[in-house]
């Protein structure tokens, strides 16, 4: 059996969520989503399907020519199917916080800021929340600052929103009607009790809950022999750490 790195498993899990996309965009500081997008693009190519990937921190995989605003305009136009967002905190209603902890006026710990989340979360049909750390500190009952809300009133223009949340330990699906996450998959060395303990919000559990799926050999080969080198162009430290390329 192939020894699989944790990051490779997450890349493969994300890739499974992208197979129906035509255009995937990847924002700042996202080597794992970036690798997943390139992996799906490569697999699509083998099946003679066309898939575009825009990776903002790459020159080679950046499709835009209208300056830094084009990502947001393009997303608002409905031309991006999937985008990834993270969060210092993510809560059970899929609100995300990229700003800090404590009250906003007297902030305790200040983080970088909300980036483009406050628009992207509204307009991209499939937002995948991705946060490696799965702990009561990151997955909270209620975020202390809403960089972008998980849902909106009926009269708000919102074709997009949260679809999945992936962490080191688990994959959740977001139920828009119930405004609640549902646990779909857990990492192989995890168990439900521990996930419940480490998650700061309440969630549903899918009837058919499974382990995360181990990628087959073909996928692993593509990832290690091809995607690794592509990723090294724009995330050299990550590519070096995981694959030594």
């Amino acid at each position: 059996m192939i020894e699989l790195k944790r990051e490779e498993l997450l890349i493969s899990e994300l890739a499974d969520l992208l197979v129906n996309d035509k255009h995937i965009a990847v924002g700042a500081a996202s080597p794992i989503p970036g690798a997943a997008a390139l992996l799906v693009k490569e697999e699509a190519k083998l099946q003679n399907n066309r898939l575009r990937v825009t990776i903002l921190h790459s020159n080679k995989y950046n499709n835009f020519t209208d300056g830094a605003r084009e990502l947001f305009d393009c997303a608002a136009q409905g031309r991006i199917d999937t985008f990834f967002l993270g969060g210092v905190q993510i809560d059970g209603e899929a609100n995300i916080n990229l700003v800090g902890t404590g009250s906003y006026e007297k902030i305790q710990k200040r983080f970088p800021g909300s980036f483009g989340s406050a628009l992207m979360y509204f307009v991209v049909p499939q937002i995948i929340l991705f946060r490696e750390e799965h702990s009561p500190r990151t997955l909270v009952d209620k975020v202390e600052f809403i960089s972008a809300p998980g849902f909106s009133d009926e009269n708000i223009y919102r074709p997009g929103g949260p679809k999945f949340l992936l962490t080191n330990r688990a994959l959740f699906k977001f139920n828009k009607q119930k405004k609640r996450f549902c646990l779909l998959k857990i990492n192989n060395n995890e168990n439900l009790e521990n996930i419940i303990k480490l998650t700061g919000f309440k969630f549903d559990v899918d009837d058919k809950i499974t382990n995360m799926s181990v990628p087959n050999k073909t996928r692993i080969d593509i990832l290690r022999n091809k995607i690794s080198y592509m990723v090294s162009e724009f995330y050299p430290e990550f590519a070096d750490k995981i694959w030594g390329v």
Binding site: R69, F115, G116
Partner: protein, 273 residues
């Protein structure tokens, strides 16, 4: 007759006044670090940073050096080297005002000025705490009979005009046109700024407008008030297409700047080089 004013770096620094609202380019758009160094040496005060849409070491150094009273940004970060420590500390201790924003809003506010209209509408954002805390943003009900949705709340962002913009460019032609390539957010910044100065690696002996395709890569000289040749003017930041970031240096900074003392030691050395 030269078609532009070639200035010394210190002449450009002198154009920045205490209290100015200054345009700050993102790490991918040409960060004018040599200029920033001289600005800190000058002891500039009360700058308001308008970041399009974020700043990295440039903003953190200015904040740590006490040059800044206000920051409008979607993020202040050292990227893969973690939080911007002087920024985080200054916000946590209330030393600076942070006007939290989101990338498309920062673009749109400048586009309003680009068109000389008082505001620009934006979708999204409503219901976030970003919007909640921005008293200069307003929400109206969509007034249009035939576009958008009835009863839809629409966010209006005020036009923002910058006092001054400085960025670093790979090259400039003999008539003062700036080669910006795909970094067209620099055009938006320049259009919305009262004064624009550019530091550059070199001045070419050609006119980029002589060829239609190279013309398309330019920000026209008409928006530029002065240019200064400054070699390695973005170091330790990257100048895309010319040189990469000096990651060792930024990492060194990120560690030193975790404390005010460490920051001051680092800066003493940095400013004297």
């Amino acid at each position: 007759m030269k078609q532009f004013d070639e200035l010394s770096l210190l002449e450009i620094v002198d154009e920045v006044k205490d209290g100015d609202l200054i345009g700050i380019p993102a790490d991918y758009s040409g960060v004018p670090m040599e200029f920033t160094k001289e600005l800190i040496k000058k002891g500039i005060k009360d700058l308001k940073l308008y970041c399009l849409p974020l700043t990295t070491i440039q903003g953190d150094m200015l904040i740590g050096s006490g040059c800044v009273s206000e920051v409008e940004a979607a993020a202040v970060t050292l990227g893969e080297f973690g939080l911007a420590p002087r920024f985080s500390e200054a916000v946590e201790s209330g030393k600076i005002i942070i006007k939290d924003s989101t990338c498309p809003a920062l673009h749109a506010q400048l586009q309003a000025t680009e068109k000389s209209v008082p505001f620009m509408p934006l979708r999204g954002v409503i219901g976030s705490d970003i919007q909640k805390y921005r008293k200069d943003w307003q929400i109206i009900e969509n007034p249009m009979k035939f576009s958008g949705n009835k009863n839809e709340p629409i966010l209006l962002l005020p036009a923002v005009q910058l006092d001054i913009l400085i960025f670093h460019a790979p090259c400039v032609d003999k008539n003062g046109n700036i080669q910006i390539g795909r970094r067209r957010e620099l055009a938006t910044l320049a259009h919305a700024s009262k004064n624009v100065f550019v530091t550059t690696e070199r001045i070419l002996d050609i006119d980029l407008f002589d060829d239609e395709l190279s013309a398309a890569t330019c920000l026209p000289a008409l928006y530029i008030d002065g240019i200064s040749v400054v070699k390695n003017g973005a170091w330790p930041c990257a100048l895309p297409g010319v040189y990469g970031a000096d990651n060792d240096e930024i990492k060194k900074y990120s560690i030193a700047a975790k404390t005010q003392k460490g920051f001051e030691d680092y800066m003493k050395n940095y400013l004297s080089n």
